[in-house]
Symmetry: C2
């Protein structure tokens, strides 16, 4: 059961809550045009800017549609949004009260295969660093990481001792990104996944595939395979 953040006592937040209530209790129904900012400002006894802030929050949430001149309407088929927080693996494991450790299974320097290169918008065969890492919580495998790092966008990676600091953490600390692609899927564990995650081949695994970019190009592309049964929670 998720609880609403924490009661923010601001006037804008009170308006958000009240408008949400009117929508949920169907005082204002889907498609209805709601009073304009000036009217609401009068009703709530606040400045227009405050109403504007509140309604913009609700529009972001997907509950309202706002258009200049046309006014603000209750969204007809709200496609609601959920936010996923993707923390550093170590913090995620430690946050769950487990002891973190990791092992580098393989590390080499070599040409990127076609699929990786295309995902990273680099020429096939571009030299990159390839790493396979397992992250453990209380010595049980938590996540298998298969990562390609582009030295062009992340210089210095060649000389890092990834036994000391895991690749995820080193990159997060040293290469903030401008944009990234993230996708989730499910895959049956292949022989290697199964061995590293200490499970049986064919077990369903949650897979997260992510590529991040900075001004120099793609920094890294990674495939994360979580241990069987892992569930990723999103907050609405």
């Amino acid at each position: 059961m998720t609880d609403r953040p924490a009661t923010n006592p601001s006037k804008a937040h009170a308006i958000v809550t009240e408008v949400r209530r009117r929508i949920v209790e169907r005082e204002w129904r889907q498609g209805d045009r709601i009073p304009d900012e000036v009217e609401l400002a009068v009703e709530f006894g606040v400045a227009r800017a405050t109403v504007n802030k509140a309604l913009q929050l609700l529009a972001e949430e997907g509950l309202l549609d706002r258009k200049r001149r046309a006014g603000t309407h209750v969204t007809v088929n709200p496609a609601r949004k959920a936010t996923l927080t993707i923390p550093i693996v170590r913090e995620q494991i430690e946050g769950a009260g487990m002891a973190y450790s990791h092992r580098i299974i393989a590390q080499k320097h070599g040409p990127a295969p076609a699929d990786i290169a295309s995902r990273m918008a680099e020429a096939e065969g571009t030299m990159m660093i390839h790493l396979r890492t397992v992250h453990y919580g209380d010595d049980k495998p938590f996540q298998v990481e298969d990562r390609w790092i582009n030295p062009k966008a992340a210089p210095g990676a060649e000389h890092v001792d990834f036994q000391r600091i895991n690749p995820n953490e080193w990159l997060v600390r040293n290469f903030p990104w401008l944009r990234g692609d993230i996708a989730f899927s499910a895959e049956n564990a292949d022989a290697r996944d199964a061995r590293l995650l200490e499970t049986r081949q064919g077990t369903a695994l949650l897979i997260l595939q992510r590529t991040t970019w900075n001004d120099q190009g793609a920094i890294t592309s990674v495939r994360l395979a979580f241990h069987p049964g892992y569930s990723m929670v999103a907050s609405p």
Copy 2:
């Protein structure tokens, strides 16, 4: 490859972009304290409120940490956020250029089993509506939906013809929610999943489990199993 929304020409957005650049190009490094709002307002030639808006956006994004009196710092281990948009299935399928159809496999009124009841914070055995639906795109199974609806929070569900309007759409249109829980996981298809999705038992499936609530309690709890190979994309 994801592109940044659309260039918003506002001053606040220009500041967001510039601050992001300074962080990405490591002019400002992790842990650094950045100039305060007044200084930045002078530097950029705008009002403090405009700087405030920009920095709040970056704080939400996870790139900055802001504390009263302590100032604004570049986040040390940024746990970046990704947003998932969860549209109506029909719109998702039609948006992909396929023809939408659905089939109700089972519909009955009965007592909720323990796990569902607890997820919905209702007493075990509470009478609910149980539905199993398959959603198709171009007559290929896209998603299997296993849903429990709580008539207490969603009155009227007993008399709806779900062959005409699918349960997802009817609920979204009639019962906006206040909060919800969403979780992703991977499961091996059981015999029923496999049959409905026209795949082999054991195939890895992406599972989305969601429960939504309004002021009357839990509206509905649903398990969505996507077709094999489905990938859900998040936007950062």
